[in-house]
Every structure is written in structure tokens, then in C-alpha cells.
């Protein structure tokens, strides 16, 4: 077997293993679908009336949903770190490392399975969104592009979380630690409210925050940001798809090799 084919085959075995867990532990799927539904409904109806400053012709539901998509997939990716830490704690990583399998397969299988979970989350949120008034106003191709940008960025974040999981080694701590980083990253952004209301320092951070770009990219691709709306000042938000792709590539280029390296050296203590 060539080494690429072997890596693929091993990764498929691991992905399958991780998806079996999703099937056997319904809590996982319940949490990754219920909390997004809760967010959609809560923001739409609790804050929706109070949030202004939207581009003319855009309803809050249309503005909100791409933001919620972005926030949810980034949160969803934290599971990668927690799951790896769990495998490490239970001695499973030792077992895998003692097998003649591809070095990257455990990580590829993990991130791919988590991508699958995120895809399910987005699907559920999109359906909920349609119920509360969100609409896709673009072509089929653009809409697919919107979902792809979201999932691609989430996939990159999964690899970042893989490094965190392998370093931190305790699932609960991974959850808490990532919360501290992910929460500001997804809230100090144009996910839920327009940036115009932010104080200046926070606004600059939010403009260059990749999560804002992901949300903005999704808005453009779903047609939730009409052509006539005022163009944002920052380059990152004028070219959100490109900016998101750059971030994704950089994150992957750094964290894929780093996590594979860490994986090879790590062992249960």
C-alpha cells in the first residue's frame, strides 16, 4: 500500500470510530444541535428588536444567522481538543502510537469526524433560521460557497484545538481553556451586532478578527448583505472570503505539522 493510500485508509478507520461514538452518545449530537437552535431563537427574539445600525434592507434574522453559523462552528471545533485529551488520558493514544499506522491518521480522523458534527450543526441551524425568517438570497453556487467557507474555517480551528488538546491533556481543562479564548473571539466580532456600535479599540480588533470575516463572508455568499449597503472600512471585511481563506491556510500550515509532531512525542503519563 502506498503511504498516501495507507494514511487515507487509517484515517477512514479512525473517522469511523469517532462517528460510532457520536451514534452511541446521543448527548453529543443533542448538544451540538440544541445549543445552536437556542442561540438562533434567543438572539433573534430577545435581542433582535434592540439591535440597530443594520445596513438598510437587511433584517436582523438575515444579519444574525451567518454570525451564529460562524460562532457555532468555531465552538464546535473545540471538541477536537477535548476528545484528543480524553484519548490521551485513557491510554488510547499509546495504543495507536504502538501500531504500524500512519502518523497523522489519528488527527485526520478526529478532525474529519468533528467536521461532520459541525456540518450537522449548520444544517440544523439553517433549517431553524429558515423558520425564524432567514433567507438565502444568492445563487445555489454562492450558497454552497457560504457553507464551505464556514466549514473550512472550522476545520482549521479543529487543528488548532488538536494542539491545545495534546498540550493540555485534560478534557475538562481543554473545554474551559478554549472557552476563555473562543468566547471573546466569537463575541468581539461582527457575529451578533454590527461593528459600528463598538468602542474604537475593540472595533479594530473586531474588524481584523477572522471570525468577523467568516461571518461577513457568509453574509455576502448567502446574499444577506445587499449590494447597496455601505462598504466596511477595513480591508479584511471588504475581502472577507479571501481574508478567511488566508487565515485558514495559515492556521493549517502551522498547526497541522505542529500537532502531528506533538502527537508523535506525546504519551500518557
Amino acid at each position: 500500500m502506498s503511504s498516501l493510500a495507507a494514511t487515507l485508509s487509517d484515517s477512514v478507520v479512525i473517522t469511523k470510530r469517532n462517528l460510532i461514538k457520536v451514534k452511541r452518545v446521543p448527548d453529543l449530537i443533542v448538544f451540538s444541535t440544541l445549543s445552536p437552535i437556542m442561540f438562533v431563537v434567543m438572539f433573534r427574539y430577545v435581542f433582535g428588536g434592540a439591535i440597530g445600525g443594520l445596513p438598510p434592507g437587511v433584517s436582523y434574522a438575515e444579519f444574525l444567522l451567518p454570525g451564529i453559523f460562524a460562532q457555532t462552528v468555531v465552538f464546535g471545533s473545540t471538541i477536537t481538543g477535548a476528545s484528543l485529551a480524553d484519548d490521551l488520558q485513557k491510554g488510547l493514544i499509546d495504543r495507536f502510537r504502538s501500531l504500524p499506522m500512519a502518523r497523522s491518521a489519528v488527527l485526520v480522523g478526529r478532525t474529519v469526524a468533528d467536521l461532520g458534527l459541525n456540518a450537522i450543526s449548520i444544517a440544523v441551524m439553517a433549517l431553524t433560521g429558515l423558520v425564524v425568517g432567514w433567507r438565502i438570497n444568492s445563487s445555489f453556487g454562492e450558497a454552497v460557497g457560504g457553507f464551505l467557507v464556514l466549514l473550512l474555517f472550522a476545520y482549521a480551528i479543529s487543528w488548532l484545538m488538536a494542539v491545545v488538546g495534546l498540550l493540555v491533556r485534560t478534557p475538562e481543562v481543554v473545554q474551559n481553556a478554549s472557552f476563555i479564548v473562543i468566547f471573546p473571539l466569537t463575541f468581539v466580532a461582527s457575529t451578533f451586532v454590527p461593528l459600528e456600535t463598538f468602542p474604537s479599540v475593540l472595533r479594530t480588533f473586531a474588524e481584523w478578527n477572522p471570525v468577523s470575516a467568516v461571518a461577513q463572508a457568509a453574509r455576502e455568499l448567502f446574499g444577506n448583505f445587499p449590494a447597496g449597503a455601505p462598504v466596511p472600512d477595513a480591508w479584511s471585511l471588504q475581502n472577507p472570503v479571501l481574508y478567511t481563506v488566508i487565515w485558514t491556510v495559515v492556521i493549517l500550515a502551522v498547526f497541522v505539522p505542529l500537532s502531528v509532531r506533538l502527537y508523535q512525542r506525546t504519551a500518557t503519563r
Binding site: M1, A6, S9, D10, V13, K16, R17, I20, K21, R24, V25, K90, G91, L92, D94, R95, F96, R97, S98, L99, P100, M101, A105, A267, T268
Partner: protein, 331 residues
């Protein structure tokens, strides 16, 4: 006979601590080596290095004729590892666990499934085979774990404390499985803190303490190092011990040991059953106070105590006042 495992001058440091300080050992093809030592002696570190999980700071390790660093993948293909944790995925069923590991050893789908079925049968897990491993008892998890490490029929098997935490019945069962494997020609390196376990399963033993080898040989050789046989008497009341000792002192070939707390007298002797008969004769008329008489050979616990100055299992130290090595001056 070729050596399946050759370890020379193994050194491993973790920061300031030297975990292994020049360990040498060899394991002949098809034999069982017991690696003994108290907690923290470095047993698991040795296993981790030999199974490619950890890199040594110095020394050379060949497993199945291959260097563990340069040929790590080929080494992994010829070994099986059962670590201290039962490394099974608790959400997968027993069958799924075995199939997964089989696939990762690069067995074809059909072969992985066939082997999984065989091993479930062999390890008495057929009924539990389609239940998630979460529902298994500790003993069942261990058996599944060992089954997983055997799926690709490895030539060399590493078992790191395979019976720690098992109840006595599961432990006996596990011993039978391991003895069967050894009979089948698998080379086994087994670590344990239970001397009885090593005595029963291992052809040869290496004793390590604080990262160094302190003794090696067969169980008999190790016992011979510690000393010969002893005559032991346990009595109803410590008050009669001096009298008994006075009658028997002439039979001792070395300093006798009196343990008042245990109401026990222990005499190093030579001559076997004849000495026992002679002793009983000398005690004529005093046997009413004696509850137990025995001719004992040192067991591995004695070996351990004599070699390391502390007992094999840590819990033994903080109990009662520590009994000096029963073999007295021989240690």
C-alpha cells in the same frame, strides 16, 4: 537461539530525574522475561522505549532484530502492547475494538473481522462481543485489551502490569492466557510488582530498582542468591519462644530470627526433611504450643526484600514495624 529483544546501556532522563540509568537486558526468542521492580523503578519507561513510544537518551535497543528508532514502523508491525491502562475505546463494542485495531495493523477487512471473532472466543468474550466496552468489568477490559494486542499475531508481546487491579479470580484467568501464549511461542516481556506472577510465568527475570538492574536470572538462581531453606515455627504464645530456640539453636546454620509479634521463629538450616524430623524430636513434649511447622524455601518476596532493602509492594512498608530480612546476615 536468537534474541528477540536486546537492550544495551539504556538511559532515560525526565528533567532532573534519571529514570533509567544504564539498563541492559536480552530476551531470547520464544521466552518470557519478567521485569520486576517496585513502583517507580522504571519498568514502564523500559516498556515505552521498547515499544517506540518514548525515545531513550542513550543506549541501543533492538526489537525483532530492528532498531526501535530507525525502524520504528517495522518494530510496531511485529509487536503487541498491552499497557497499564486497558486501552480500549469504551464506546465501541468488543468486536469493533478488535476490528479497528486489526485494520490499523493493516489486516484486510475480512481478516480483521475473522481475527476479531477468533479472539473474542479465545478470551471468553463472545457474549459481550456486541456490547460497548463501557459495560465491561475490569477483567473483561483487560482481556479485550490483550486480545487487541494479539490481533496481528505479533512475534513479541509487551505486557505492562497485566493483572494490576484485577480480582484474584481474573488474575488466575489472565495467568492462564499468558501461559498459553508463551506455550504458543510468543516472546513476552512482562512487567509486574507481583513476584508470584513472575515466578509463575517468567523463564528469566530482571529486577530493577531506581533505574538500575540489581539482579537477573531464573527464579531459582535469584532465590539461591538470597539463601537456602529455613525452618519456621509459629507458636501460641511468644513466651515459649526462648525455650524452643534454646532447644533448636544447634540446628541453625546461621543466625536464627525471632519475631515476637508474629510469634514466629525462623532458623536457617540445611538438610531438608531430616532436619525437620530432628527438630521435632528435640521439641518432644513441647509440641502443644506449636500451631505451625514448616520447611520453607525463600520466595521472591524474600529476594526482593534482600536485594532492595524494601518490600515489593509499597503498602508493606507503612504497616507494622518492619521485619528485618528473614535471611539475616545472608543479605
Amino acid at each position: 537461539m536468537d534474541d528477540a529483544i536486546v537492550v544495551e546501556g539504556l538511559v532515560k532522563r525526565f528533567g532532573e530525574t534519571t529514570a533509567l540509568d544504564g539498563v541492559d537486558l536480552t530476551v531470547a526468542e520464544g521466552s518470557v522475561l519478567g521485569l520486576l521492580g517496585p513502583n517507580g523503578a522504571g519498568k514502564t519507561t523500559v516498556v515505552r522505549i521498547l515499544t517506540t513510544l518514548l525515545r531513550a537518551d542513550a543506549g541501543r535497543v533492538r526489537v525483532a532484530g530492528l532498531d526501535v528508532v530507525d525502524d520504528a514502523d517495522a518494530v510496531r508491525a511485529s509487536i503487541g502492547l498491552t499497557g497499564q491502562y486497558a486501552a480500549v475505546d469504551e464506546y465501541l463494542t468488543g468486536f469493533e475494538n478488535l476490528e479497528m485495531v486489526g485494520r490499523l495493523y493493516r489486516l484486510g477487512r475480512r481478516e480483521a473481522r475473522a481475527r476479531a471473532g477468533e479472539l473474542l472466543e479465545r478470551f471468553d468474550l463472545v457474549d459481550a462481543g456486541d456490547r460497548p466496552a463501557k459495560t465491561y468489568s475490569g477483567g473483561m477490559r483487560r482481556r479485550l485489551d490483550i486480545a487487541a494486542s494479539l490481533i496481528a499475531r505479533p512475534r513479541i508481546l509487551f505486557l505492562d502490569e497485566p493483572t494490576t487491579g484485577l480480582d484474584p479470580r481474573s488474575r488466575l484467568g489472565m495467568w492462564e492466557f499468558i501461559a498459553d501464549l508463551a506455550d504458543g511461542g510468543t516472546t513476552i516481556l512482562l512487567t509486574t510488582q507481583y513476584l508470584e506472577e513472575a515466578d509463575r510465568l517468567a523463564d528469566r527475570m530482571v529486577v530493577i530498582d531506581r533505574g538500575r538492574v540489581i539482579a537477573r536470572g531464573t527464579a531459582d538462581e535469584l532465590k539461591a542468591q538470597v539463601g537456602g531453606q529455613r525452618l519456621e515455627f509459629t507458636v501460641t504464645t511468644a513466651a515459649v519462644l526462648p525455650d524452643i530456640l534454646a532447644r533448636l539453636r544447634g540446628l541453625a546454620v546461621d543466625e536464627p530470627h525471632v519475631d515476637e509479634q508474629a510469634r514466629r521463629l525462623s532458623l536457617p538450616v540445611s538438610g531438608g526433611a531430616e532436619v525437620l524430623a530432628e527438630a521435632l524430636q528435640r521439641l518432644d513434649g513441647h509440641t502443644a504450643e506449636i500451631v505451625d511447622v514448616g520447611l520453607r524455601r525463600p520466595d521472591l518476596d524474600d529476594v526482593f526484600l534482600a536485594l532492595t532493602g524494601h518490600a515489593a509492594e509499597e503498602t508493606a512498608t507503612d504497616d507494622q514495624p518492619v521485619e528485618p530480612a528473614p535471611t539475616g546476615g545472608m543479605a
